[in-house]
């Protein structure tokens, strides 16, 4: 049946290019190849997010008066609504976790080196977009925690020099977090970010397909002149492994959704006293805690503003890594950038833990 369908399509569309690509495409075999699966798993979770997000859209109402109630309706009255909402929430967190893991694996393996600079740049922007999805989606249930965390988060955006106040007003739709902020975050979450993400994911995948999988420098250096690394066929050998990983992700997601339902909390009340222990989602904790630790004034400059500028510079540095790491682009080992990756990972882990336990 499948063969007949393909033949039918081939007759009309000439699929020989695609068939040739699928038959010829190979994936290098080496000890580090396990890291290749992280990108596929992240992409799979993005698909889960889109699917569950579309289902949630059927019932969600983006207004301060109805948002909370509509989510409550989804999880309590809609058939399997609880499952869809729980999967969407858990999948969002797993997606960001896997995106970070993918980012660090590429960083450590120096897969960003020439000629894959643009793949890295598109990937870094995608990572930031995922954080944007997390930040905008967090407010949508309009509960107490998300309301006050958004207040703090958008306040930090307001500390950006020169454009800070403008950014804060654009994000909030005014001076404070209100129903207008919810509408904006909704628009950002379901239209603007998905549109940009779709284009960038397509570009990212195009780059990966055009250039093939990167081979770690250490593996390359061990090859004798003229020797080629063994490859496995992408189809079906590699794709089956990818599907296996996706199934494991589904199992983890389903278990989390059923055993650890994502709490809805209390409806946001702008006039309520700020509840204790307000903190952002785990993936912003390190940044948040760092900003908390910076003194209010450093060398006469406002501490928070300095911190925000610092994080901006780190983001720019990350985008520019392939262009700065000259050694790896020459195919040489690059211990300085490995040390930076270790320091970055260590910082994120330590400060996330500190931020979690901070009062």
């Amino acid at each position: 049946m499948i063969a007949k369908t393909i033949a039918w399509l081939d007759e009309r569309l000439d699929l020989s290019d695609i068939r040739h690509f699928v038959e010829e495409k190979g994936v290098p075999i080496h000890a580090q190849k396990v890291w290749y699966y992280l990108g596929g798993m992240t992409l799979f979770l993005l698909g889960v997010q889109i699917f569950t997000g579309i289902l949630l859209l059927l019932y969600y109402r983006p207004s301060a008066a109805e948002a909370y109630e509509s989510v409550q309706f989804i999880v309590t009255r809609v058939k399997f609504g609880w499952l869809i909402r729980n999967i969407h929430s858990w999948s969002a967190n797993l997606l960001i976790g896997l995106a970070f893991a993918h980012f660090f694996s590429v960083f450590f393996l120096k897969s960003y080196r020439k000629p894959r600079e643009l793949t890295w740049v598109s990937g870094i922007i995608l990572l930031f977009l995922m954080l944007g999805f997390g930040f905008s989606g967090y407010l949508l249930p309009w509960n107490e925690l998300s309301f006050f965390a958004t207040k703090v988060g958008t306040g930090i955006a307001g500390a950006v020099p020169v454009v800070g106040h403008f950014t804060l007003r654009v994000l909030r739709g005014g001076d404070d977090v209100t129903g207008a902020t919810l509408s904006r975050f909704y628009g950002l979450h379901v239209a603007i970010l998905p549109a940009i993400t779709t284009a960038l994911v397509a570009l990212h995948l195009l780059f990966v397909q055009r250039q093939g999988m990167s081979v770690p420098i250490a593996v390359e250096q061990k090859l004798k002149p003229g020797e080629k690394l063994r490859q496995m066929p992408f189809f079906p050998n590699y794709i089956l492994r990818d599907v296996l990983a996706w199934y494991i992700v589904i199992a983890v997601l389903a278990a989390l959704a059923a055993f650890y339902p994502w709490e809805l909390g209390r409806k946001a009340d702008p006039f309520a006293v700020v509840p204790p222990g307000i903190r952002p989602e785990w993936y912003f904790l390190a940044t948040f805690h760092t900003l908390k630790l910076i003194p209010s004034h450093v060398f006469g400059l406002e501490g928070e503003r300095l911190g925000v500028v610092g994080f901006g510079l780190v983001a720019l540095f990350l985008v520019a890594v392939p262009f700065l790491d000259r050694r790896s682009s020459r195919g040489e080992r690059s211990p300085l950038f490995t040390a930076m990756a270790i320091a970055g990972l260590g910082y994120l882990i330590v400060f996330t833990i500190l931020g979690h336990y901070a009062k």
Binding site: T76, L240, R241, L244, Y247, A254, A255, A257, A258
Partner: protein, 417 residues
């Protein structure tokens, strides 16, 4: 002596009052340069924040004399009404000259009462002053003499959060209070502030920022300050705790409790009431009069029964609330049950209120209604748990299917090499 003071007060009152325009004020010029702090401090305070100065009043409006004269003798001329530092009844009269004048006060504070002096005369302070006791509080003792602020000013010594400390200046001083006795001849205690600071009222006022929470003057009166007499305590408490007072008034204890509410709740150190206070066991204060375990004492039986009823309803609400919260967070619809449990909590509050009538039979229907609601919520919660179990079973089946596919894929991958 009283006649002399009254005459002096009338004399002062007879002097017409006007807010002097800001012209030459030799009082400030001279007093501000005095090395004796007693003479210079008033000018400092008066020229900073002072409601009277802000409204155009000057030193001579209270002290008399002539501010236009720079010579001490001429400015302090008794013929120009100079009376120095008004004290005792003279001070009351000096303040009342304006604050007792309804016509005048309309121009400055139309909503302010003008009977402070009359009230003061009925207070313990006023009565003792009339007998010649110069040690008691007069207007300036609480409001200050110079640098007087509006009562609504948070820095005013009579702002609600400051009242207790202002009263305590005298009432917490064993030296100041040593000559004062209660009606029965026992010494007047000086622990009121320390006791009050332990109370639920103090916490509400200072920690809960509830300015309507009572402080000294809310129970004792301010200008007419006096301890509530025997039999009046329930009425004083009932000003805010209306329903409790109504229940208590009809109860058997109304006749028996000399100090009314104070018998169980204390006066200044009123702690947050708890259910533990009821009954004869544990911390139950009914045991003060009723013997624990005495099956022939109707009071013991009634108190213990009411306690058991309230405890049972409270425990039921707690258990059901925890169950409902658990299933709610797991995604089960329980908003109706949440509403019902709020109704059960209202019944618990009603039972706690009704208890002040000390008739166990009156509690029964209230507690029974509450228990019915709790039982329904409990059933709904258990249904919710069953639904959760069903979901988890469904998940286990799904996981088994996924695991099967994973194993099949692994086998296939292995076969491909």
């Amino acid at each position: 002596m009283r006649t002399v003071w009254l005459f002096a007060a009338l004399l002062v009152a007879a002097v017409p009052v006007r807010a002097q325009s800001a012209g030459q004020n030799s009082c400030l010029t001279c007093h501000s340069t005095q090395t004796d702090k007693r003479l210079s401090t008033p000018t400092q305070l008066f020229t900073q924040t002072d409601i009277h100065r802000e409204n155009g009043f000057a030193c001579v409006d209270c002290h008399g004399g002539n501010a236009a004269e720079s010579d001490k003798a001429r400015s302090h001329d008794a013929a120009r009404g100079f009376r120095g530092k008004p004290a005792g009844q003279q001070q009351i009269a000096a303040c009342a000259r304006c604050h007792g004048d309804a016509e005048l006060m309309k121009r400055y504070a139309p909503k302010q009462r003008v009977d402070q002096a009359t009230e003061y005369a009925t207070s313990v302070h006023g009565k003792r002053l009339a007998t010649g006791d110069g040690n008691v509080a007069t207007c300036a003792s609480c409001h200050g003499a110079h640098g007087v602020r509006r009562v609504s000013d948070a820095k005013s010594p009579v702002f609600p959060t400051n009242v207790a400390n202002t009263c305590a200046v005298c009432h917490a001083s064993p030296v100041h209070m040593k000559d004062y006795k209660k009606a029965d001849g026992s010494p007047l205690p000086t622990t009121q502030l320390a006791d009050y600071q332990k109370s639920v009222h103090f916490r509400a006022l200072t920690k809960g920022n509830d300015l309507s929470a009572p402080t000294c003057n809310d129970c004792h009166g301010n200008h007419g300050a006096a301890p509530p007499g025997v039999g009046a305590v329930a009425k004083v408490c009932g000003t805010c705790h209306t329903i409790f007072a109504q229940k208590f008034e009809k109860s058997v204890h109304n006749e028996l409790f000399e100090k009314g509410c104070v018998e169980c709740h204390s006066n200044h150190a009123i702690l947050k009431p708890s259910d533990d206070m009821l009954g004869t066991s544990g911390h139950g204060i009914c045991a003060t009069c009723h013997t624990a375990g005495d099956k022939n004492d109707k009071g013991t039986l009634g108190a213990d029964r009411m306690r058991a009823d309230i405890d049972a309803l409270k425990a039921g609400i707690e258990t059901s609330s925890a169950l409902i919260e658990r299933v709610k967070n797991a995604g089960i619809e329980v908003s109706d049950q949440e509403l019902a449990l709020r109704e059960a909590s209202t019944k618990l509050t009603l039972a706690r209120t009704e208890m002040h009538a000390f008739v166990p039979e009156q509690l029964d229907p209230i507690v029974a209604d509450g228990a019915k609601i709790v039982a329904a919520a409990q059933r709904a919660g258990q249904d919710g748990e069953a639904e959760l179990k069903y979901r988890r079973t469904g998940l286990a089946v799904s996981l088994a299917a996924i695991l099967f596919v994973v194993v099949a894929l692994a086998v296939k991958i292995k076969s491909l090499g």
